[in-house]
C-alpha cells in the first residue's frame, strides 16, 4: 500500500493537450474517484498512472518513488478494465494466477492466494469455469480477483461497472466498497457516473477538459461546489440555474427579490431545495410540463410563468423540482427557495462566497 502523488502532470497527443497540469495527492489507503463527462481525460489520467500512456510533463510518484520512467509492471499497481479484459482461453483460476505465474511464485503460494481472493469475492464454485460461462457480474469479480492476488500498492479501476445492468451495478458497487474496507488499499476509480462517485469515494476529483475542477469529499462537493460545472455535475438531479438581473432574482411577489450581490449573474438551486408552497407565499410560479415518477419522489419539470422569469425570448425557462406529493401535469404551482441552499455564480461560473 502506498500514497500517490501527481505533480503538474500533463499529456498531449500531437499538438492537442488532453491533461493540463494536474496536481493531486492521494493518501495511503484512500479511495479516490475521478469523475467527469466523457472526453474529460479521466481515463487517460488513470492510464498514465498505470503506465499505459506516456507522461508528457510533470511527475507521478507512487509510495514516494517517481515512476515516470518505470513500465507498468514495475509500478506496483493492478488495473481493472471496463471490458474486464479476462483471457477468454483460460479458466477463472488460470486468469487469476497468470500474473503470479509470470513472477515465478511457488505453486503453493499461487494456489493459496487465488483461493483467498476467490473466498473474498465468492468465486470458489467458478474457479474452473471459462469466462464465457460466467455472468457479467461474475466476470467483473474475476477481474477484481486478478487484481487482488497480486497485492498491489494501488488498485486502479477504469469504469468497472459500466458494462453491468443497473441492479448488478448497485450490488457490485457495494462489493467494491466492502473490498476497500477489508483490504484498506489505495484505490483510484474512474467513472462518469456521479452516483458511483458519491457513494464510493473518500474524495472525489471532478475533471473537465483535462483540468481538475474540484477535489473534495462527496458532501463538500454537494454542499460547496466551487463552480457551476461541479454544481451541475454532482448531485442526483441536475441543479437549476436561473439568470439574475443586476445581481438579484426577482420573485413572484410584487417587489420582492433575492439579492446576491453585484457580481452574481446566476443563481443555482438543486431540485430538492425547492418546496411547493401556496401561491400567495410562493417565490416562483411554474406550470407543470412533465412529471417523472421515481416512486419515492417525483421530479417535476416546470415552465416558469411568473412574468419576470419568462425570459427575454420566447423560450420558457425550465426548472425541476423534487416533490413527494402528486401534482397534475398542466397545473400551476408555487415554489419557495430554501435560502440556505442558494449558490451564487459570477460571470466566469465561479461560486461567490455566501
Amino acid at each position: 500500500m502506498a500514497d500517490l502523488e501527481l505533480r503538474g502532470v500533463e499529456k498531449s497527443f500531437g499538438g492537442m493537450t488532453v491533461i493540463n497540469g494536474v496536481d493531486l495527492s492521494v493518501g495511503d489507503g484512500e479511495f479516490v474517484v475521478f469523475v467527469g463527462p466523457s472526453g474529460c481525460g479521466k481515463s487517460t489520467l488513470l492510464r498514465m498512472i498505470a503506465g499505459l500512456e506516456h507522461i508528457t510533463g510533470g511527475e507521478i510518484a507512487i509510495g514516494g518513488r517517481v515512476v515516470n520512467r518505470l513500465s507498468a509492471p514495475e509500478r506496483g499497481i493492478a488495473m481493472v478494465f471496463q471490458s474486464y479484459a479476462l483471457y477468454p482461453h483460460m479458466s477463472v483460476r488460470q486468469n487469476m494466477s497468470f500474473g503470479l505465474e509470470l513472477q515465478r511464485r511457488p505453486k503453493a503460494e499461487i494456489a493459496r492466494k487465488v483461493q483467498n481472493a476467490a473466498d473474498i469475492l465468492q468465486l470458489g464454485p467458478y474457479l474452473d469455469r471459462m469466462p464465457k460461462a460466467l455472468s457479467g457480474g461474475q466476470r467483473q469479480r474475476v477481474a477484481i480477483g486478478r487484481a487482488i492476488v497480486r497485492e498491489p500498492e494501488v488498485f486502479l479501476f477504469d469504469e468497472p461497472l459500466s458494462n453491468l445492468d443497473a441492479a448488478l451495478r448497485g450490488q457490485t458497487r457495494l462489493e467494491i466498497a466492502r473490498l476497500h474496507a477489508r483490504l484498506g488499499a489505495t484505490m483510484i476509480y474512474v467513472t462518469h457516473d456521479q452516483t458511483e462517485a458519491m457513494t464510493l469515494a473518500d474524495r472525489i476529483v471532478v475533471l473537465n477538459a483535462g483540468r481538475i475542477e474540484q477535489v473534495g469529499t462527496p458532501l463538500e462537493l454537494y454542499r460547496k461546489p466551487v463552480n457551476a460545472f461541479v454544481a451541475g455535475f454532482i448531485g442526483g438531479q441536475t441543479m437549476n440555474f436561473l439568470p439574475l438581473t443586476d445581481g438579484a432574482l426577482p420573485l413572484a411577489r410584487e417587489g420582492a427579490s433575492v439579492e446576491l450581490g453585484a457580481q452574481a449573474v446566476m443563481l443555482g438551486i438543486r431540485p430538492e431545495h425547492l418546496r411547493l408552497a401556496p401561491q400567495p407565499e410562493a417565490d416562483l410560479l411554474g406550470r407543470v410540463d412533465v412529471i417523472e415518477e421515481f416512486g419515492e419522489f417525483s421530479l417535476l419539470h416546470l415552465e416558469l410563468v411568473s412574468a419576470s422569469h419568462a425570459g427575454a425570448g420566447s423560450q420558457p425557462r425550465l426548472i425541476t423540482v423534487k416533490v413527494e406529493r402528486p401534482v397534475a401535469a398542466g397545473e400551476t404551482v408555487g415554489l419557495t427557495i430554501e435560502r440556505d441552499h442558494i449558490h451564487a455564480f459570477d460571470a466566469s461560473g465561479r461560486v461567490l462566497a455566501a
Binding site: 499505459l52 499497481i77 493492478a78 488495473m79 471490458s83 479484459a85 483471457y87 497468470f98 509470470l102 486478478r146
Partner: protein, 272 residues
C-alpha cells in the same frame, strides 16, 4: 415436366446421373486401378484385389519422394506461419501510415502469375546457393506471405488490446503476451494459414520442377510426372496407388483441421 417440384423429371434425373458419373469416374478409375495388381488402365471392376501397388508406391524412390514432399509442405507452412504472424502482428498493432495500402499492394503482387517471375526467382536462388528443396520452401513462403499476412492481421485485430494491456500490467513481456494471449486466441487463423500453405506446397509442381536438380530431391508431384512412361510401359496400378497416397496427406490435414477451419472462416467473415 413433373407437377411436383420435389420430384425431378426423368430427363433431369438422367442428366444429373450422367454428370455424377462424369464427376466420379476419375476417382473410380483411380481406386479400381490402385487395388488391382493386374491393372491395365481401363475403367472397370478390378480383376484381382491386392495391396501390391500400394507397397510399391511406398518403397524405394517413392518413399523418398514422399519425405521430400512432406519436407517442402511442412517447411513452407511452418516458415510462412512464423514470418507472417510476426509481420501481421506488427501491422495489426502499430499505427503505420498507409499500412492497408501496403498490404493490398502485396496482395496485388501475389495476383501476378508466378510463372511471370520464375526467371528472377531462379537466378536469385542460384546466386544464394539454395537451388534445392530449401529454396523451394523459401520461394513458396515468399509467395504465400501476402495472403497469410492479410488473413492473420484480421485475426489479430479481433484480439482486444485491453487483453494485452492487462497482461502487460501483470508483468508479461511482449513475447509472453504473444505466446500466452495473442497466438492462442488466434489459433483458428493460424490453423487456416498453416493448412493452406501446407496443401499449396504439397500440390506445388512448378518450383520443385525448376529447383530440384537430382532425382533424389524430387517431391511426389514431380515423381508422379516422371513415372509416366518409365521403361517404355505405363504402370497404371503403381500410378493410381501413388496418386492416392499423394492425395492422402491433404485429406488428412483437412480432417484434422476442419473444426478449426470452420471457426477460422467465420472469424474472417466477422471482420470482413
Amino acid at each position: 415436366m413433373s407437377d411436383n417440384p420435389d420430384h425431378p423429371s426423368r430427363a433431369m434425373a438422367i442428366a444429373l446421373a450422367f454428370l455424377a458419373v462424369i464427376w466420379v469416374s476419375p476417382f473410380a478409375w483411380l481406386v479400381s486401378n490402385a487395388v488391382d495388381p493386374l491393372a491395365g488402365g481401363q475403367l472397370r471392376l478390378p480383376a484381382a484385389i491386392g495391396p501390391d501397388n500400394f507397397i510399391r508406391a511406398m518403397s524405394g524412390s517413392a518413399a523418398e519422394q514422399f519425405r521430400n514432399s512432406l519436407f517442402i509442405a511442412a517447411g513452407t507452412a511452418t516458415l510462412t506461419l512464423i514470418v507472417a504472424s510476426g509481420a501481421a502482428y506488427a501491422l495489426s498493432r502499430l499505427r503505420v501510415p498507409g499500412r492497408n495500402a501496403f498490404l493490398w499492394s502485396l496482395v496485388l503482387l501475389r495476383m501476378l502469375p508466378p510463372t511471370g517471375i520464375l526467371v528472377p526467382i531462379y537466378f536469385a536462388a542460384q546466386r544464394a546457393g539454395i537451388l534445392n528443396n530449401t529454396g523451394v520452401i523459401v520461394a513458396l513462403t515468399v509467395l504465400n506471405l501476402p495472403f497469410a499476412m492479410l488473413l492473420l492481421k484480421n485475426f489479430f485485430d479481433t484480439v482486444p488490446i485491453e487483453l494485452e494491456e492487462a497482461a502487460h500490467v501483470e508483468g508479461a513481456s511482449l513475447l509472453t503476451i504473444l505466446r500466452r494471449i495473442v497466438l492462442p486466441m488466434s489459433r483458428a487463423g493460424l490453423a487456416v494459414v498453416w493448412f493452406f500453405s501446407f496443401t499449396g506446397a504439397w500440390n506445388e509442381f512448378m518450383f520443385p520442377l525448376l529447383f530440384s536438380r537430382t532425382t533424389s530431391a524430387f517431391p511426389m508431384s514431380i515423381g508422379l510426372y516422371s513415372a509416366f512412361g518409365r521403361q517404355g510401359a505405363i504402370d497404371y496400378g503403381y500410378l493410381a496407388a501413388f496418386s492416392i497416397i499423394y492425395a492422402a496427406p491433404a485429406i488428412a490435414v483437412y480432417f484434422m483441421l476442419r473444426r478449426n477451419m470452420n471457426t477460422g472462416f467465420a472469424g474472417v467473415g466477422v471482420k470482413g
